[in-house]
Amino acid sequence: MAKRELAGPATLILSSLAEGAKHGWALTKDVEDFAGVRLAPGTLYEALNRLEGLGLIEALPSDDRRRPYRLTAAGASALGEHLARERRVVDVGLSRLSEKWGAA
């Protein structure tokens, strides 16, 4: 998995879907709640389209016009790897801040 595939909104979307299947508007509100970022409609669907093409999420059948998406096993694995990498960076950054600047 190329690292840049999970850059930007992709991580936010996958993290949101890790909780369970959601449609576009539910995803927008959830991401806004936990990350403080409002994903614009075009950006959201560009990312959904890409993630679906990569097999990281899949669309579920729906009776109404709002189609929900859920994380696939490949998506869960890719998100786990990506977040583990990010956590290493966060840990190193916080530890160095604490050592050098006395703040964390």
């Binding site: 614009a40 075009g42 389209n49 709002r66």
Partner: protein, 313 residues
């Protein structure tokens, strides 16, 4: 229909038909919810317009390998047209006199070789595509392929006709000055006659023969038709993974050749080898061409990398 629905449908038109068929209903629902919360938002309109344009160019969203290959072909074709236009003026200069600066000579020879490499890669890459077309020539493929053929035939026949007034020979048989067979250079010059700074000097344009002016205006349309038809054919062909892998290897080589070509053009411009008789002077249009070629190269590289990543999933 409410105003919000009208606005959502209007925004949805930014996307290509295939995208609308797949995501249209759910995307409209999202837009309606967003419009209800933020009735007026320029950032939303801009975001949708940008994302729609990316989808139309095959740059955004899901990765359809054939579509990315079509982007590589389109960007590569634009690069070759511009590169040929730049190179043809230098080939004319060489016809009259050899460059006095060694770096300019080396750059022109390198550009000639690299254009030959790009032509060879295009020819090799076309073989499996033509084979796939021959095996699956239905109405879905025939339309764009006919557009490609029409544009290509007009481009070649027009270039062939106007190559007769190639200023490289000036009517004088000086074969010893040729960098390469004269008719090849003449075809390249005539085929890219529209790429010229004369458009910025309408007064000078009036001195051109009317049929030449007509060709300068019509040839870009023929070239765009050929490239658009070719790209759409590739998108619709649904090439096998094996063929796609082969094409992407060729695309990688082509990107390398294009990078070297840009370096050679920069070498010529930086060498300042204008002489003799100002034959190899670099004008502002050459700077514009380098910028446009670099843009086309970056688009081709990005599309190739995306396609490769999707193929190796």
């Amino acid at each position: 229909m409410s105003r919000a629905e009208k606005r959502a449908i209007w925004l949805l038109r930014c996307y290509p038909r295939a995208w609308r068929e797949r995501y249209g209903a759910e995307f409209t629902e999202l837009l309606l919810a967003d419009i209800a919360e933020r009735p007026r938002s320029w950032s939303r309109a801009f975001d949708v317009a940008r994302s729609g344009a990316a989808a139309r160019l095959g740059l955004g969203g899901g990765i359809h390998v054939g579509a990315r290959l079509a982007v590589v072909v389109s960007a590569g074709s634009a690069f070759v047209v511009l590169g040929t236009a730049v190179w043809a003026q230098l080939a004319i200069g060489w016809q009259w006199s050899r460059p006095s600066a060694p770096a300019t000579s080396a750059a022109i020879v390198a550009m000639s070789c690299l254009l030959a490499v790009l032509a060879a890669l295009a020819a090799v890459g076309a073989v499996p595509v033509l084979w796939a077309i021959a095996r699956r020539l239905d109405r879905h493929i025939a339309g764009p392929f006919a557009l490609f053929l029409l544009g290509a035939v007009i481009s070649v026949l027009g270039a062939w006709h106007f190559a007769g007034v190639w200023p490289g020979t000036g009517g004088h048989p000086w074969p010893h000055q040729q960098l390469l067979p004269g008719h090849v250079a003449a075809l390249a010059w005539a085929g890219t006659l529209s790429v010229t700074s004369y458009w910025a000097h309408p007064g000078a344009l009036l001195g051109f023969p009317p049929d030449e002016l007509l060709w300068m205006a019509a040839s870009p349309i023929a070239l765009v038709a050929a490239v658009a038809g070719g790209a759409r054919t590739i998108r619709r062909l649904d090439l096998s993974p094996r063929v796609l892998r082969f094409e992407l290897v060729l695309a990688r080589l082509a990107c390398g050749a294009m990078t070297l070509f840009v370096a050679a053009v920069c070498c010529w411009i930086a060498s300042g080898g204008t002489g003799p008789r100002n034959l190899f002077n670099a004008g502002s249009i050459d700077g514009v061409a380098v910028a446009a070629m670099t843009g086309a190269l970056l688009i081709a590289r990005r599309a190739r990398a995306d396609a490769r990543a999707a193929l190796t999933q």
